[in-house]
């Protein structure tokens, strides 16, 4: 089975059922027709199986049909983070060797520059088309709607073929493209549909971006089940989300801890009831016991699935059954169907109950590797397992608990942020001698970004100067929330910054 078979099957079974509510209402037939049309246009434009197609759009309909259109054409889908900078976009286009970019007008500014020197790029498409910096920009709307009666036949693809590259922040700040095959994504999607019990009667409120693996999973599981996606990916006005949950009779809601924290702290959740909501899912970091209690208090009859995963696992690895939330607080549960999880010591042997080791995974969902990075791949794919880098314990009943990461990644909102990238950008400022970036506990975000900076000369620049400098280069979500000026950074004998010590000061 291939990933786009989910849309083909649901589209043939329930053509008139609503599939998407976002800036309009769209049926499965609408999604299937536009995806097929795009696939035919891409093939006509010379896109061949295995070609990477980058998609940078915040229009949910365009994103979804670009996803399935790319796969139907045999291409590899590369979804780019819309909270981005020119530097990042160009880096990822170059790294992925994308031959086409499908985008919308607001992002054309990234391409309206002479700095585009990506040899592989030969197709740029955006609604309305035009000419951008000498590159002919095709009209994306035309590509989506021109050929509904096309005789286009999708190429034959093996299930082991690469379907999607999802970029994650590498620990060094260099993004890593996680390569997921059709088989990886299909296996994980079917397993998740099964344990959540999703059917064509389900509808989900989507606040998570599709370009991260959690949102990608919400998308695929609902298309596979024939359900409905109600999309509103801005959490600026949480009350609007609650209104939509009620009005659209939403049955499921997926978030990260900061999503739920925001709803509990900054919305009228306590003044509303949600009679159709039958479950919540939470992933993207451990939910504190206090937050779980408050959420259960606000939504007493709604089961909460605490889940754990990694982009490298397409992404789901474990879940805690809702009825165990109180008996096993803080646990990420057990492996999902089709996945084997083991906590191993450094020599690869199983740890005793309660002893900390590294969480490892086996299953059809484990990625093919990192795009163009065989060494980084070999570090995490060893002995037929994915070594997650997450430290964990397992109790006598087989329930798993996380105890931090081997790496220093900051989890802020729905984002994973590599401190190194921000440190490098700070060092580009002429006044900065040294910098160390850490995540500090934050009630809403999970962690906020704090940069500890040593200046070459004291008073050489202000906090605002450095924030502005970061803002010019980095996407907004990577800009430090606070700069702390230090006389020196605490270091080990080998000269490594003691970040744990810095965290304890903050």
């Amino acid at each position: 089975m291939l990933v786009h078979d989910f849309l083909l099957e649901s589209g043939n079974r329930w053509p008139d059922a609503e599939a998407l509510v976002a800036g309009g209402r769209f049926t499965y037939a609408d999604l299937l027709n536009a995806s097929s049309s795009l696939a035919a246009s891409l093939a006509e434009s010379g896109v061949k199986p295995g070609d990477r197609i980058a998609v940078l759009t915040d229009v949910p309909f365009d994103y979804i049909v670009s996803y399935f259109g790319t796969l139907l054409a045999g291409g590899v889908f590369v979804g780019l983070n819309t909270q981005t900078s020119e530097r990042t976009v160009l880096k990822l286009l170059s790294d992925s060797g994308s031959s086409a970019v499908l985008t919308n007008r607001k992002f054309l500014k990234f391409f309206n520059t002479s700095r585009i020197t990506i040899d592989s790029l030969n197709l740029l498409a955006s609604p309305g088309g035009g000419v951008v910096s000498g590159i002919a920009c095709r009209d994306l709307n035309e590509m989506l709607h021109a050929k509904t009666d096309s005789s286009f036949v999708p190429p034959i693809i093996e299930s082991s073929a690469l379907a999607q590259i999802i970029y994650t922040s590498g620990t060094t700040g260099t993004p890593k493209g996680v390569m997921l095959s059709h088989q990886n994504l299909v296996a994980n999607t079917l397993s998740t549909v099964k344990y959540l019990g999703l059917t064509e009667n389900d509808s989900v409120m989507v606040v998570l971006p599709f370009f991260y693996s959690y949102g990608n999973s919400v998308l695929l599981t609902h298309i596979a089940a024939g359900g409905k996606l109600v999309v509103n990916q801005s959490l600026m006005y949480p009350n609007l989300i609650l209104d939509q949950i009620i009005k659209e009779r939403v049955t499921g809601f997926s978030g990260v801890p900061s999503t739920f924290s925001l709803l509990l702290n900054k919305s009228a959740i306590h003044d509303n009831s949600f009679p159709h909501l039958r479950y919540l899912t939470q992933a993207g970091g451990a939910m504190s016991i206090q937050l779980a209690d408050r959420l259960s208090g606000a939504l007493p009859d709604v089961p909460i699935f605490v889940m754990y995963g990694q982009t490298e696992a397409a992404p789901r690895l474990s879940y805690l059954e809702p009825e165990e939330l109180r008996r096993k607080p803080g646990s990420i549960g057990k492996a999902i169907p089709g996945v084997t999880l083991e906590v191993l010591d450094q020599s690869g042997g199983p740890v005793q109950p309660g002893e900390i080791g590294e969480l490892t995974a086996r299953g059809e969902n484990v990625m093919l590797g990192y795009w163009g990075q065989p060494e980084a791949t070999a570090e995490v794919l060893r002995d037929g397992r994915l070594w997650t880098g997450d430290l964990a314990t397992i109790d006598a009943e087989g329930y798993l608990y996380l105890h931090g990461r081997k790496s220093e990644m900051i989890k802020s909102g729905a984002h994973r942020i590599a401190p190194r990238e921000i440190e490098d950008v700070l060092l580009e400022h002429e006044a900065v001698l040294e910098s160390a970036v850490i995540g500090v506990d934050d009630d809403i975000l999970g962690e906020s970004i704090v940069a500890c900076v040593v200046l070459k000369q004291s008073d050489a620049c202000s906090e605002k100067d450095l924030i502005n400098h970061c803002h010019r280069i980095l996407p907004a979500f990577k800009v430090p929330h606070r700069i702390k000026f230090c006389i020196e950074l605490p270091k080990t004998e080998s000269g490594k910054v003691k970040k744990t010590e810095l965290k304890s000061y903050n």
Binding site: Q83, K106, S234, L235, M236, Y237, P238, N239, L240, L262, N265, K266, S267, A268, D271, G413, I444, L445, K464, I467, N468, H471, R472, A476, F477
Partner: protein, 83 residues
């Protein structure tokens, strides 16, 4: 522009446009559409209003009609202070 709207503009330009020329941001431009403020930014706006104007912003007030442009925010502050 009202006094409150001017103060809102000053705060937005200084904290979200990072000192860049705020002349391009119209009084009625949507913060959501223009991407000037995100979900955590709006919390900073709430904190600023509470501190600068001395009233509590109710969670139920956190709606686009009150918050989604310089003029709407100016009017919201003005209405809240008059209550």
């Amino acid at each position: 522009m009202s006094e409150y709207a001017s103060r809102v503009r000053e705060f937005i330009v200084s904290n979200f446009l990072f000192g860049e020329d705020g002349g391009n941001l119209g009084e009625d431009d949507s913060f959501l559409e223009t991407g000037v403020i995100d979900s955590t930014g709006i919390l900073e706006v709430v904190a600023w209003i509470e501190e600068a104007f001395g009233f509590r912003v109710s969670d139920a007030d956190l709606l686009p009609e009150n918050f989604d442009s310089i003029s709407r925010l100016g009017n919201y502050i003005s209405r809240s202070l008059a209550q």
